[in-house]
């Protein structure tokens, strides 16, 4: 099982790296999906099958599909891919990479200080999660449903076309 963990983490890292590097949007999206799937596998290894399933269904299944739809609507083509490569020059990614690396270094540094005993994951199944959701975290559930409602209304409103604006112009 551990090897499964290590393999999926390596896949996740590589896929995420490719997301960052790819110029074509759709390719990057697909790599992102792969990364999410790998992370779902990690969840599974860690004994959270419910979350693994949720990750695949919602994250990779709904959110990424949303991304793909939007990309299709925007009709981004090879011209955009060229522009992307224009934009991604060395001086552009040098700074962020350094910052991210420093941050990562700090995190690892903290982690190295606290090596605890390895744990044996038990499987925390959906039943347990459901009981906790409708128990102590009931308020959180309600709030997130309100959040989703807000997101729904907002997305609908913002994405709407007004009568006086055409498809390719007008002021928002």
């Amino acid at each position: 099982m551990e090897t499964l963990f290590y393999i999926s983490s390596v896949i996740a890292v590589i896929a995420t790296f490719m997301v960052m590097v790819k110029k074509n949007v759709v390719h990057a999206l697909l790599y992102l999906v792969v990364s999410l799937l790998a992370v779902a596998l990690v969840f599974f290894v860690l004994g959270a099958p419910f979350i693994a399933a949720l990750e695949i269904i919602i994250y990779a299944g709904a959110i990424m599909v949303l991304f793909v739809f939007v990309v299709m609507m925007l009709n981004l083509g090879s011209k955009d891919a060229e522009r992307e490569s224009e934009w991604l020059t060395a001086e552009t990614w040098a700074g962020p990479v350094i910052l991210a690396a420093v941050l990562l270094g700090e995190v690892i540094f903290i982690l190295l200080h606290r090596t605890g005993p390895p744990f044996s994951p038990e499987i925390v199944g959906s039943r347990q999660v459901g009981v906790a959701l409708l128990g102590p975290y009931l308020l959180g559930v309600e709030l997130s449903s309100i959040l989703l409602l807000a997101g729904l209304a907002g997305a609908y409103h913002i994405g709407r076309h007004f009568e006086d604006e055409g498809r390719g112009g007008g002021r928002p």
Binding site: G95, P96, L99, L103, E106, F109, I110
Partner: protein
């Protein structure tokens, strides 16, 4: 009666306060009442105090009155203390009486001026400060009065402030006297530092005991005080301010620059005469300065066109006589000449004021002429004053005072015949320029019409002063003419007497020479300016004549000299110093702020990624701090 001494300076101060605070709201007559009345009351009180003092003199011939303790710090404790002796009494009498007459005169002269209350406020402040100066028992209070009169001089010269020329003249007067004041202050520091007190009598005692004549300290202190006196009294080398100070109203010139402030220098030298006697080189310098100044300004006066400038140079010259007298040790003679000079010089200025007032502020003598028919009272009083100034023998006060000086310049132990010669030449010049002024202004054909005749308030002072100019001298007659010594007898209770070293024979000879010289001056003036006026004009047009004329007209080019030596280097220095390194601190702060602003405003570029980077950076730093702790 002597206890009322403190009222004499305080009444003018009270008048000043009333006029300064409420003058604008009072109407003209009330203003005049307060302004003239305060000085009138002071004059009456002075006379009463004088009578009391002279009839029943207090022990030691002096009277002290302390109002309150001014300071008391580290053993230095001057008080507001007044000290009355013969010297300050005489000067106080002259200042208040002549001051009152001039105030009365100016209540009519300045009638149409919109600054009427301001004028009287300043004049009262001046009289108050002058009295404080004269009555001060310690040098600190004296210095207060000294500065006060300097301030009022500035305020009054620049009285018509809307014309920038007047402001320039006022500033020039202030700056030049400031040079003297600085020297005086250093002298006071020196005295206090070495002798530990500033009370004048105590100071003189200690100086007499601790310092030997001719040593460095008294010479330095006396020289510094002389520097201050030279500034205030407009002697060489600080005499340049007085002719320009004529920009002020004529009563101001009469009071401040003829009768009172300019004699403050004479007063202080007479007051600290013990110190000066301990410094013989300085005393000799006093005499030499007096002699040179009287010659220099005499030559300048014969070329002037403005009637007030003639009188200004004449004042400088006459104070030169007083300095000459002080320098040869004739202390009471100097004060005697001060008194008679106050009478006739104030009268001359007031008479000039009548003319100027009547001719609508015309100052040029050559545009006047024939005024004796139009202004008869003015003419006769002016003539009497001019006669007194020229020392016409026997009938004028000026004769007795000036000749006493000349006699003592020859015969005193510190005198010399060169000083006497300078005085004689000066006397010739005096009568020459005085009667030149009289003849051009009052005789000949009239070039202008008098539009405003003077009223009683202007004529009464003229008449009173004329009377004093004639009779004021009779209290002191020389030894060969009756030997009346009322004045010097009284003065010798406060100042040391002087012993003439030559005999009666010499005195007669010198007297005759003086008479010849003064009458000769009148004759020459008549010759050049009345009988053959073309002659002087032709002389002036020859090339050496023109050079001399220009040189003397500009006061022996002192203004040009000071401009080149002092003013221009100073301005140059100020200009190159405009951006010095101290300015760099201020402008540096501003520049730094601007630089920081332009740098930091680059971070406000509206780009989301940039802000996100800022967040990341902040997070990194915070975690780093937490980790490394």
């Amino acid at each position: 009666m002597l206890e009322l001494l403190w009222l004499i300076p305080c009444l003018p101060f009270a008048g000043f306060l009333v006029l300064a605070l409420a003058g604008k709201r009072l109407e003209g007559r009330a203003v005049a009442l307060v302004g003239v009345g305060s000085v009138a009351l002071s004059a009456i009180l002075s006379v009463m105090v004088a009578v009391d003092f002279m009839s029943a003199p207090p022990p030691g011939h002096f009277y002290t009155q302390t109002l309150w303790q001014w300071l008391d710090v580290a053993g230095f404790s001057p008080g507001i203390t007044f000290y009355l002796d013969a010297l300050s009494l005489v000067m106080m009498l002259v200042v208040t009486v002549v001051g009152f007459l001039i105030h009365l005169y100016s209540s009519e002269f300045m009638e149409e001026d919109e600054g009427y209350s301001r004028f009287f406020a300043y004049m009262n402040l001046f009289v108050g400060s002058m009295l404080v100066l004269l009555l001060a028992q310690n040098l600190l209070l004296f210095y207060l009065g000294w500065e006060g009169v300097g301030l009022c001089s500035y305020l009054l010269i620049g009285f018509w402030y809307k014309d920038p020329k007047n402001g320039y003249a006022a500033r020039k007067a202030f700056v030049v006297t400031r040079v003297g004041d600085a020297a005086m202050a250093v002298g006071l520091f020196l005295l206090y530092n070495n002798l530990g007190t500033l009370q004048i009598q105590e100071l003189m005692e200690k100086a007499h005991q601790s310092w030997s004549p001719g040593s460095l300290l008294p010479v330095a202190a006396a020289a510094l005080i002389l520097g201050g006196a030279v500034g205030k009294s407009a002697q060489l080398p600080l005499q340049t301010w007085l002719p320009d100070a004529m920009a002020g109203p004529t009563p101001v010139s009469a009071l401040i620059h003829a009768a009172t402030m300019v004699t403050a220098g004479v007063y202080i030298i007479a007051r600290t005469h013990i110190l000066f006697e301990l410094a013989p080189p300085v005393l000799a310098a006093v005499a030499v300065i007096g002699a040179l100044t009287l010659l220099l300004s005499g030559f300048s006066a014969i070329t002037q066109k403005d009637i007030k400038r003639v009188l200004a140079y004449s004042t400088i010259s006459q104070i030169g006589y007083m300095f000459l007298a002080l320098g040869v040790g004739a202390w009471s003679a100097a004060i005697f000449h001060f008194m008679t000079h106050a009478f006739f010089k104030a009268l001359l200025f007031l008479g000039a004021g009548v003319i100027i007032h009547g001719l609508h502020h015309e100052h040029d003598m050559f545009k006047m002429g024939g005024l004796r028919r139009q202004l008869p009272v003015t003419f006769w009083t002016f003539l009497i004053a001019s006669a007194s100034l020229s020392a016409i023998p026997l009938v004028t006060a000026g004769f007795f005072s000036k000749d006493q000086i000349l006699w003592l310049a020859w015969s005193s132990g510190r005198g010399s015949k060169w000083l006497w010669a300078a005085g004689i030449v000066g006397a010739l010049l005096t009568s020459l320029y005085t009667f030149r002024m009289v003849f051009i202004t009052f005789f000949g054909e009239a070039h202008s019409e008098v539009s405003k005749k003077p009223g009683t308030r202007m004529l009464i002072p003229l008449v009173v002063l004329a009377f004093l100019s004639v009779t004021g001298g009779y209290i002191e007659l020389p030894a060969i003419m009756g030997n009346v010594t009322i004045f010097s007898g009284f003065m010798h209770t406060a100042l040391p007497p002087v012993k003439p070293l030559s005999g009666e024979h010499m005195e007669w000879i010198l007297e005759i020479i003086a008479v010849v010289v003064s009458l000769g001056g009148v004759f020459f003036a008549w010759l050049f300016f009345l009988w053959m006026p073309g002659l002087s004009a032709r002389l002036a047009r020859t090339s050496p004549g023109m050079l001399l004329h220009r040189f003397w007209f500009s006061g022996w080019a002192f203004d040009w000299l000071y401009g080149v030596l002092l003013v221009r280097p100073f301005i140059w220095l100020a200009r190159i110093n405009k951006d010095d390194f101290i300015d760099l601190i201020y402008t540096g702060i501003a520049w730094y702020n601007q630089a920081m602003n332009s740098i930091l405003s680059l971070t406000q570029n509206g780009k989301v990624r940039f802000y996100a980077m800022g967040i990341a950076l902040g997070a990194i730093i915070t975690i780093a701090i937490a980790v490394l702790r």
